[in-house]
Symmetry: C2
Subunit: 81 residues, 2 copies
């Protein structure tokens, strides 16, 4: 049964590129990826923060944050939300 992975982004160019590259490249037999646009879902910023996400784009897998390149800080996303 696939594990859950959550891809957090904010619609930025770096985010979109990372989403196309990673969120869809993970083995679907192993991972069920949920895509969350924090600009549209500010109610989920706290959850991302709790998982250790400091910037977007980021993937959270098994509770650990993996920041992929740098699009925007979570502080900027909060400021814009």
């Amino acid at each position: 049964m696939p594990q859950k992975a959550t891809f957090y982004h904010a619609g930025c160019a770096v985010c979109v590129d990372a989403e196309q590259r990673f969120a869809h490249a993970l083995d679907p037999a192993d991972y069920a990826v949920e895509i969350v646009h924090l600009g549209e879902r500010p109610d989920r910023i706290a959850e991302a923060e709790a998982a250790g996400v400091q910037s977007v784009p980021a993937l959270v897998m098994e509770g650990r944050p993996y920041h992929i390149n740098f699009g925007a800080s979570l502080a900027d996303v909060k400021g814009a939300a």
Copy 2:
């Protein structure tokens, strides 16, 4: 036929974690991942640099660099190599 992806690292803890997480999570139907330890293969640092790698761990997919969290700068790896 799977595309080539190259995972560059330098043996650091962040690198090992990212390797276990990403290098083996990519769909093997889509990606053939080569793992390169730049500390052991300093002759491949120039190739990583040419692909835009600035720090490790990083994955290069279709010629584009994706830095995953931050383990060490390429400058540090060069200094240590």
